[in-house]
Symmetry: C2
Subunit: 190 residues, 2 copies
């Protein structure tokens, strides 16, 4: 497969540059020409390696995720959520919010982007979160039939989006920790 021709270091560097550009100019403004210029690549190489802009963006987003949530296993759901928060920092959270803003409108206009993000990013994240929640159910912390189990991702997205829209403040670790305690754990009955 052609992708093996690029070193992992070079691939990581290129993904970082794509995300920086995405935050700066938004998805519509992110052209393959701009990516080629920023990363000193040829457009032909980009298309050969990644096929299309939605695929490249989705792979860059996936690479950017620090690690798999499912690895977190502190022994309690509260501990697992707080470990999730501790694995990032406020600067990273602000950057993540900027990416979410840049992509949220774009996914609706670009079904290919939505599909790529769903397959490469959203579904693996959901799976990781499911592992955490299933362990909490197995430990007896959350009832297996708790209707809130299906809505944990929605609650977490609300913390990110609402924080900016309502309070006009960045989503930071302190806010997320308070939200987990006040909303997510009580809704789950944990």
């Amino acid at each position: 497969m052609a992708r093996t021709r690029i070193t992992p270091e070079r691939e990581k560097e290129l993904y970082g540059a794509v995300l920086d550009l995405l935050r700066e100019v938004g998805y519509d403004g992110l052209t393959m020409d701009a990516i080629a210029a920023r990363t000193h690549s040829s457009k032909a190489t980009l298309y050969r390696q990644w096929g299309s802009k939605p695929e490249l963006v989705a792979r860059a987003m996936r690479d950017h995720e620090p690690d798999n949530i499912a690895d977190i296993d502190t022994g309690s759901l509260r501990g697992d959520f707080h470990e999730m928060i501790l694995r990032t920092d406020d600067c990273q959270l602000e950057k993540d919010s900027a990416l979410m803003r840049a992509l949220f409108h774009a996914v609706h206009e670009n079904p290919d982007l939505h599909r790529a993000l769903r397959e490469l990013l959203i579904e693996p994240e959901m799976t990781g979160l499911d592992v955490l929640l299933r362990r909490a159910v197995d430990r007896g912390e959350v009832a297996a039939d708790s209707p809130a189990l299906a809505f944990v991702p929605h609650m977490l997205i609300g913390a990110f989006v609402g924080r900016q829209l309502i309070e006009d403040a960045p989503t930071d670790r302190e806010f997320l920790a308070g939200y987990i305690e006040a909303v997510v754990l009580p809704a789950l009955g944990a």
Copy 2:
């Protein structure tokens, strides 16, 4: 004030046209020229009446809100939330989601739009929601010191945004009703 020269019917019609255009082309694509053309107005009239594009969009959004949440008073918090949902319909919810998508990225790029939306739309909505929640506290349904009280708007925004991002499905009344039961009421301990 100049605004009195326009009839209420004409004003309502103009606001409707602004929101239709906003859903179609997004905030950046929404020019005063396009609004003038669509509404058969002169740009001079638009600027005289509304001062600026952010102000016009914020007033159109406010006019679009069906009525004041604070008027809802069914005697229970569960009843009040369900009445909120019943006051709209699935078609309207889909249109509201489209507006939220169009505006979410734009507010970050346009501080004037964010300020106008905050003053004319977000703060009055928060106040209406606060009235509902305060009545629930007075009735003893929710503890006065429940930390979830401050996060009700975030939870509701999560239902709207998450539904599309995760399930790729429109936010409809059935989904919202399930979310209120599974997340919002339990988080409040109601």
